[in-house]
Homo-oligomer: 507 residues x 2
């Protein structure tokens, strides 16, 4: 397919230029809304060209050139990596997972605001982030009337185009044009007091349009690209992931037998990563049929499930596929187009919809404490890993929230079950199920002390169990409050010990 044929709007053909020319339109200090969600659908050329420009600018010794970068979620080295490398980002939101970005955040040279992904567009609309100067959006084609065929992620693109004064489009001919028709862009949102119910009652329902609207006069540049999304191969599930998946499947079986879950379960939300992928694989080899997914990201595991019929439909806002996954997707795209819907992230993660559909939220965590509080973001209380992402959108409002992790990290030196988490992203009120390879703790309806025993006995690694019980028992004997017994001077000592000695184990 020739590149020209992807820009069908005559006025916009006139605006085609190089990435360097387009990047020159982004001023220092600008707030820039970029496309991109979990390494899919981010602009491939303009961020890098801008980074070059920033580097050249900074080499002159002039005042630093920095911009605020707002995206859907994480992007890739071509965007976050390049801009962070030249120290070009003043403020980054709402999510990242880039090593160079992370380093800048944790050494204090980049401000990062990590937000519930469902809330970003309403904040932008409300004006809480100030004015948006420019949007840089990857699409896979421009139609004759100037409307846009979205790319492999929708993310916040609708909002950025609406909010920005100017729009730069990247038309990426590497993305299969036959994705056209998979997207569902909903133009019914509003700010209060004008909001109406979102009439989604099934994961597979369409409520919007196939295309992004974009006023032609806003578009200041069109850049042609031809590069693939970030995509890394999946590891085969390891032993811990497989055991975690087994515990979850046993749990589902029991809940179905008890009549607390239908045999098609409820729409699955699944975080990204190896453990969630192992859970999907396990579901696919189990007896399940006609499951549905209402989630953020389509991973390889979901393609397999759609093909086998385990999954009848998957709603998300982006793809995160390995090279094999992409090949499979492109080969059978007609099949997948029927069964996959890509929505903007304020709908894919909407609290109203997550609650109504009764999503089963399964997400990774860094650590949990004995009382059921979960830390998803901060290593040792201070260093940002990635961000909360969509986990809060689904965990708070869904039907079940499941948090998963191996019971130890860093070769067994860190316990993922601790006396008190060093940062809270999901409170004791929101965490229903905690799973490690050791077992599954079902916290529903339990008081804090009941939860403590459940978590320690089911989830802790044998190397740390006695140490946790000892903490708990001494906290109970301390004479302080018995609702949530703690020894305040020791509650965070495991983390402190790790920082000082490299292990949470006592000498």
């Amino acid at each position: 397919m020739s590149t020209e044929s992807r820009i069908l709007c005559p006025q916009l053909q006139q605006k085609v230029m190089s990435a360097d020319e387009a990047a020159a339109m982004i001023p220092a200090g600008a707030t820039v809304g970029m496309s991109g969600f979990t390494g899919a659908g981010y602009p491939k050329a303009v961020p890098g060209a801008l980074a070059e420009r920033i580097k050249a600018h900074n080499a002159t010794g002039a005042a630093p050139f920095r911009i605020n970068v707002l995206t859907g979620a994480s992007t890739a080295p071509e965007l976050d990596g390049k801009l962070a490398e030249v120290d070009g980002i003043e403020l980054r939101l709402p999510f990242q997972s880039d090593p160079i970005c992370r380093d800048r955040i944790n050494t204090g040279s980049m401000n990062y605001t990590d937000l519930h992904l469902s809330e970003v567009s309403q904040y932008a609309w409300s004006g809480f982030f100030g004015k948006m100067d420019i949007a840089v959006i990857e699409v896979i084609g421009i139609r004759e009337d100037g409307s846009l065929i979205p790319s492999s992620s929708v993310g916040n693109n609708k909002t950025w185009i609406e909010q920005a004064d100017k729009v730069i489009l990247e038309v990426n001919s590497k993305q299969p044009l036959r994705m056209e028709g998979m997207h569902d862009v909903y133009y019914g949102t509003a700010l209060p007091p004008h909001r109406k119910p979102i009439m989604l009652t099934e994961a597979g329902q369409r409520i919007g349009e196939h295309y992004l609207r974009c006023p032609i006069e806003k578009v200041v540049a069109v850049v042609e690209t031809d590069s693939p999304d970030r995509n890394s191969p999946f590891k085969k599930p390891d032993d811990a992931s497989r055991k975690i998946a087994e515990h979850i499947l046993e749990f589902f079986d029991r809940e179905i037998k008890l009549g607390r879950l239908p045999k098609e379960l409820l729409p699955l939300q699944s975080g990204v990563g190896n453990i969630p992928n192992a859970v999907l694989e396990a579901l696919d080899s189990g007896p399940y049929k006609n499951l549905t997914a209402y989630t953020e990201v389509i991973q390889d595991g979901m393609l397999k499930m759609l093909k086998s019929g385990t999954l009848s439909v998957a709603s998300a806002t982006s793809f995160s596929l390995s090279p094999d996954g992409i090949a499979e997707f492109e080969e059978n795209i007609e099949l997948y187009r029927e069964k996959i819907i890509l929505r903007q992230q304020d709908i894919s993660n909407h609290p109203e919809v997550a609650r109504r559909l009764g999503v089963i939220a399964t997400n990774g965590m860094i650590e949990a404490d004995i009382y059921g509080n979960v830390n998803s973001t901060h290593v040792m209380g201070t260093r940002m890993m990635n961000g909360i992402g969509g986990s809060g959108d689904f965990a708070r409002n869904g039907y079940l929230s499941i948090f998963m992790s191996p019971s130890t990290a860093k070769d067994g030196k860190i316990s993922a079950i601790v006396p008190m988490v060093s940062h809270v992203d999901h409170t004791e009120h929101d965490v229903k199920i905690i799973v490690t390879e050791q077992g599954l703790a079902d916290l529903r309806g339990l008081s804090p002390r009941q939860r403590a025993l459940e978590v320690i006995n089911k989830c802790a690694h044998p190397d740390f169990k006695a140490q946790l019980l000892d903490y708990y028992e001494r906290a109970c004997a301390s004479g302080r409050g018995m609702h949530t017994p703690h020894l305040l001077s020791e509650a965070l000592s495991w983390h402190e010990r790790f920082e000082q000695t490299g292990t949470m184990k006592p000498e």
Copy 2:
């Protein structure tokens, strides 16, 4: 009005008996759903009769007689107080604020599960709490067909009646019968995958029925009572409350000028207590007209606002009025009946509706930390105060979340702004505004380090400001992560110091 005339259903007239006889039907170990929300509409007689029975039973030296008590929210001495006094409660949920209960919880003799109030009924329906044996519900009248006129709170009554095997009704002739018609009981809820949109788009809209349905054959006893709800006089707003209210009004003014709030604001949710009441008073003496409330509880302040026209309508699930408030309410009940709607708590607090309406959530807190995490429940990390109540329902899903407290407690010995909260109920992702009498910190869009300076500079008491800055600066200089700088070995030391020396101030 004579008591007889309130029980119009002939079959149920047959079931009238004494509270002692009714209480005899509650077996040891039972799970009992009781009416009651914030000291309104709780059963007045059966719990006390049951407490007497438990006391007599326990005096025989037999195995302890205890029950699980599920309510709407907090009740009163006649319920929580009496049952806790005889140690008759095994598990209490979802909320309490009773001194005797609190003491049992904090000394470890009562299990307490504190839950988002919007979620209780879905958990009960899902079967997560096990079987409900019996419901004890206060109503203000029984109609000829056996349907029930709800009392001064609706709470979880619909769910308890549906879920319980047996129902005991208390018909309280002290409650004004002219409340009939104020309630709106919605029978459109379901468990997923059968949920439909809740078509509420305005605080004042009615979507349900005036009465509670109740199968006549479930009713095993009807008890007549004639006692008022718990009601305590309001204190006149003190200086700190008035200053907090001023800061909030200034903030609203600014947001209106910036076009980020309409001049009628957005539906107000207001916690219970003196500070929220002061905010209501301040709003009432300001220029506001035609505000709306979508909240849990109608306090005195709201009656005044409804009368003056500051408020056009108030939706809630219960009343919490002072003796003066009750007199005013009864005198002008025709006026208030037009403007007040009482809903079940799964609708008054529903995430879907709170998000759609864009509620402004204003709630009290125990403490906040410099990074914007809020503790609403735990004193010094271990002792339960009341519970999270509805604050999370509104704070997470509403348009703005405002948390308020004087900057110090206990005669200035405790700082309400601390390095790290000793318990997290509302995470940094959910807290938008923090207010003390010192000022208002607007955290929207800020990174953690930006938030720290905003919170310390705007909200901390002068006695603690230097100490907080010192902590923050040393944390920044520690060489650990600069995203959320902390000194783990000191983060909770202020609380520990208070426990040991009676003050958070250093020696």
